[in-house]
Symmetry: C2
Subunit: 668 residues, 2 copies
């Protein structure tokens, strides 16, 4: 029976890939056995309520084996039909090339880019531990689940998994149970040509509990998972020796079966070898389906038991139950805004606003948890009085270490809890190291907050290796990510307010190292409109004092102050200047055309963008006739003020560029 | 005496940082001892000829400790004066915040972003091994040097160092000797809060030779380095337990001494503690200088010996000596172009051109060596008949494994040899994983070639996780990187020709997965001009057949063919259309204004850009009145043709967008 179940997974995968003429049969064929044991023997889940908060999580980090997951989801009764499987890799199907986050059908995260799922799981385990810390009470373990993942050699070769593995071991995340599908084959061939390290030893060095098992020894696998679950203080790695393309007489154990359909003839040979009926394709024996589908009834039962526990908990701890519901509904508790600071008149570095905001709201926003990739003091993300996660009771400061990429993947996993608002910080330059995790957060529309500080040459002496130039362009061009670069403390508070409320996708807050003056909201765009203006992405900060606007200066962050300096000078000269503060391109683009044209009137073609970063993208706002005072080269090592002067970021230069634009129009 | 030498390094660093009011004293103070042993006892170098090809290499991977390196370079007689040290972190000084590649004063690579130097060293060791394989002959070990690096806990936490470490162990790069400065402190505090893994065990798992030593036990350090050098088959890691900020009574062993000057009072206390004169600052005892400067004479001797060896080699093997000179002059051997293919009329995927070119020129271009991050078959980078590097005699195919970031760092290290032309390939989407190494290649102006294939939704079924959108914008906004996206096989060959000749910076070749028709060079921009046109970045491919140009369509890569389809239709309708193929923005921007205006006449404002990627940046060429047929959202999983249709990348849509633009001008 077990063998028939396993072969059903294999052959559904093979047939779907054959029909799509595209896909990766090697993994589902090779690794169906451990998946079968895990899903039928261990995984606590409810196929009819995939969003049950206390379910075990399953991640197929080796996302190219997606058909394995789809086959199991179908068989165990999720809303994924045989027709969906026949629709594999077609337009608008549920069965995408790689698993794409879909909590309604049991897909816990988007995987495919290797190593990401590995790190997501670590984030999920941190979330589990943190939520347990917040909600569990004696006799009421309302948060208590495991995170299982299947990972490949590709996952383990990626640096992100070393980063996340080292941190998971350090944190002692015992709820993690990872199965390494050790098939000795990569796309380029045998792992002998590139990957001969001792994986077991590496993970022991990372403080993991490591076991080795034959990937087809079902009782052996069962025993290993049992032991792994029993290990509460260390994450577990089960190294399962498997054979890619298992059952294919000519392709097993070759890289040829990794990413291409078997081909009609080899499908036939494989089915013969495994004693599987040649026809019809997509064959699912009734007793196999019946066996798998018992997951539905079992799921109903275990969720039912948990619900009873939770109901009793709600009686005993009504406040906690209420907090639970608010958190899991993705809402913020009433009155959280009371913790937002009001800024004074003193210049502040926008990076320092982070600490003020976070520490102001942390008490009320218990779902807010995060930390830094070893730059907590510099980025201002330390929550005072809360200690370190795991090390201290009630701790909620995460020290990711110098591991930006893992931080990105872990934040995604935390956000996937559906309850937490995770944040992570580093210098803007190192957003490069974690870029791909940011992309996946955007793709999954996760409420992750990035705090990227030291946002320009304003970083000064550390030099070009630490001075971002092209990072803003990279982030802004990522679909679904909202990038905000506030111009002063007040905009920074408003940006934080927006970020904390945002549930529809990640937000990157771009903060200055250096102090910035506070804009005089008495004279310019008034403070009472600030939150609205900020959410609109761009707004008129200072308008022409001489009737019609002749010159538009658009700027973000620190450079808004240069624009304002130039405004004063040019205004004195009788020129009609408008300064637009544009903290977020994405938010501005979401406004209707009327508003956008109001802020940037099409009639005004003398336009100057000022930003100490790559000019990439600014021509959208200044046009071919406009000018950009930006940075199209790397920075340098010197005091910040020197750099701004040497690279032309001075009021004088803004004035001069503005004049040149106007003289082109016969003015100035 | 040793102690005085070590204290000189420490105090020069402290004083320079104090004067600059900026810098990282903790590392130079804590780790001067192993540096002293290494530089005075082992490093084979010539301060008066830092470019001597057979010198040992030294990398300060923990680049924030830059003053340590500057102090030693000054003391041992490189062209770096005491005044340069006093000028630390000032505008235009040689002593930048982090070491910036400067082969004239002994700075072997740019470091600071952690983990990069670690990977560079692995690339240098690959280069050493490869050059030895090419040039050494019995009795003539003309290539024989070690690569030493000092790495920090931050370096080792970064995933890139795990990737590179695993590969270095696999390749058995015995010439690597890395010293891990194990000081137990990071910016956030003690490593106890985030980094408790067993580093020795991890590197043993990576197949390294590992030793532990007290970082102040000079004979112990010496013995360890000696043993490490003696280990020819495995890279070596020496774990030296040191104390950050050694000697500072109040700050040693605290994170406070990592990245801030000690402060006047603590400087005084430290000097007292170490028995160092309080005044003057920048004190270098004469006998210390004398001792260090003996490196100059020793350097002259060892280079002299090597030169004798090389002269004899040149007599015995004149062809090899000639080859050596050509390679080290950064020149390509005569006639190398003969290997470039001439394309036929058949459609080809531009990715497949890579294999044709590489295999055509490989025989002549022996300095060309590279490989893939486990995508050799898909990206076409396999050199046939050359076997695998290290595994096969004469092998020169590198299998980086699924380790894109390490590949990036390693390619930089290989390029730093000054002789090799390294290349690496992966899917364009995974350029994200290695972005920061690309940035550093650009900053160092290294001749690295990236082959990024599967360049759009044309990748098809694998879905949005594998379909690039914002990657082109990220690469194009990186200063100093040349990005080329050829439109057909002929442009692809020309792009390769350019890339192979380019010595002034990295080139990214952006290749299609899908087949693209060959442009009919009989009817359109003629083949004889192709190389020139390509180098100009953008050129008129098809011009108006109705006099004046009314509509400009600008496209790259696969989308040029949509533009050409629209051209045919609109031309038939009597509209004056011009199609511009713009494979490289960077190259186009390097042309003079006359040429640019000739290709894109300012009088034509009806402009349409077509590219299946983020529109970011295209407004530079189409202006605010123009239109972009681009992709401002993620892709999807479906056959490529379906995706192009669903997302509007059809000839019909280009025609329709063009018409709309013209109707805005009262036309069409």
């Amino acid at each position: 029976m077990a063998e028939r179940c396993i072969n059903t997974i294999r052959m559904l995968s093979v047939d779907a890939i054959e029909k799509a003429k595209s896909g990766h049969p090697g993994l589902p064929m090779g690794d169906a056995a451990p998946a079968y044991i895990l899903w039928t023997g261990f995984l606590r889940h409810n196929p009819h309520n995939p969003r049950w908060p206390n379910r075990d999580r399953f991640i197929l980090s080796a996302g190219h084996g997606s058909m394995l997951l789809y086959a199991i989801l179908h068989l165990t009764g999720y809303e994924l039909s045989l027709d969906d499987i026949k629709d594999f890799r077609q337009w608008n199907s549920k069965t995408r090339g790689h698993p794409e986050y879909n909590p309604d059908i049991g897909i816990e995260t988007t995987t495919g880019p290797l190593g990401q799922g590995f790190a997501n799981g670590v984030g999920m385990a941190i979330a589990e531990r943190y939520l347990a810390q917040i909600f569990n009470r004696p006799g009421f373990p309302v948060v208590d689940y495991h995170i299982y993942a299947m990972v490949s050699d590709g996952d383990l070769m990626e640096g992100i998994s070393s980063e996340a593995g080292s941190l998971a071991g350090h944190l002692g995340l015992g709820k993690l149970v990872y199965i390494f599908l050790d098939n000795h084959i990569t796309i380029d061939g045998s792992t002998d040509i590139t990957f001969t390290e001792d994986v077991a030893k590496r993970f022991e060095a990372f403080e993991w509990h490591v076991q080795k098992v034959d990937g087809y020894d079902l009782p052996g696998i069962e025993e290993a998972i049992e032991k792994a679950k029993g290990e509460a203080k260390r994450p577990s790695l089960i190294i399962a020796r498997t054979h890619i393309g298992y059952g294919s007489p000519n392709k097993q154990d070759t890289s040829g079966v990794h990413g291409s359909p078997l081909g009609e003839e080899e499908v036939r040979l494989t089915k013969e070898r495994l004693g599987w009926p040649l026809d019809p394709p997509f064959h699912v024996p009734d007793e196999v389906l019946g066996f798998f589908r018992s997951a539905v009834e079992r799921g109903r039962e275990i969720e039912g038991e948990w619900q009873k526990l939770f109901d009793a908990y709600a009686v005993e701890h009504p406040d906690l139950a209420e907090k639970w519901r608010t958190a899991h509904d993705g809402k913020l508790p009433e009155g959280w805004r009371d913790g937002l600071p009001t800024m004074g008149d003193e210049p502040v570095a926008t990076r320092s606003v982070t600490g003020t905001v976070l520490n102001g709201v942390a008490e009320k926003l218990e779902m807010l948890i995060g930390g830094s990739a070893d730059l907590a003091p510099s980025t201002g993300t330390r929550l005072k009085g809360f200690g370190n996660f795991i090390h201290d009771p009630g701790g909620r400061n995460l020290h990711f270490g110098v591991r930006e990429h893992a931080m990105g993947g872990i934040l995604n996993g935390m956000a996937l809890s559906g309850a937490l608002i995770p944040y992570g910080s580093t210098f803007l330059i190192f957003s490069d190291y974690m870029k791909h995790s940011i992309r996946l957060a955007a793709m999954m529309k996760l409420p992750v907050i990035y705090i990227f500080t030291h946002d320009s040459i304003g970083l000064g002496e550390d030099g070009p290796t630490h001075q971002p130039v092209e990072q803003l362009a990279a982030l802004r061009s990522t679909p679904g990510l909202t990038v905000i670069r506030p111009a002063d403390g007040a905009e920074a508070v408003a940006a934080w307010e927006f970020a904390l409320e945002r549930r529809e996708g990640p937000v990157a807050l771009i903060m200055s190292r250096q102090k910035l003056p506070m804009i005089d909201r008495g004279s310019f765009a008034p403070a009472k409109n600030l939150a609205t203006n900020l959410i609109r992405g761009g707004y008129v900060l200072a308008d022409s004092r001489h009737g019609e606007v002749e010159l538009l200066i658009i700027a973000t962050g620190a450079e808004v102050h240069l624009a304002m300096g130039a405004y004063e000078k040019l205004t004195k000269e009788g020129i009609g200047v408008r300064v637009v503060s544009m903290p977020s391109w994405e938010l501005f683009e979401q406004q209707d055309k009327t508003y956008r044209d109001e802020v940037l009137p099409t009639s005004v073609t003398a336009r100057l963008a000022v930003e100490a970063a790559s000019p990439m993208g600014w021509h959208r706002y200044v046009g071919m006739g406009g000018d950009t005072l930006c940075l199209d080269h790397f920075g340098a090592s010197a005091p910040a003020q020197t750099l701004f002067e040497k690279f032309g970021f001075t009021v004088e230069n803004v004035v001069s560029r503005g004049r040149t634009l106007l003289s082109g129009k016969g003015r100035g």
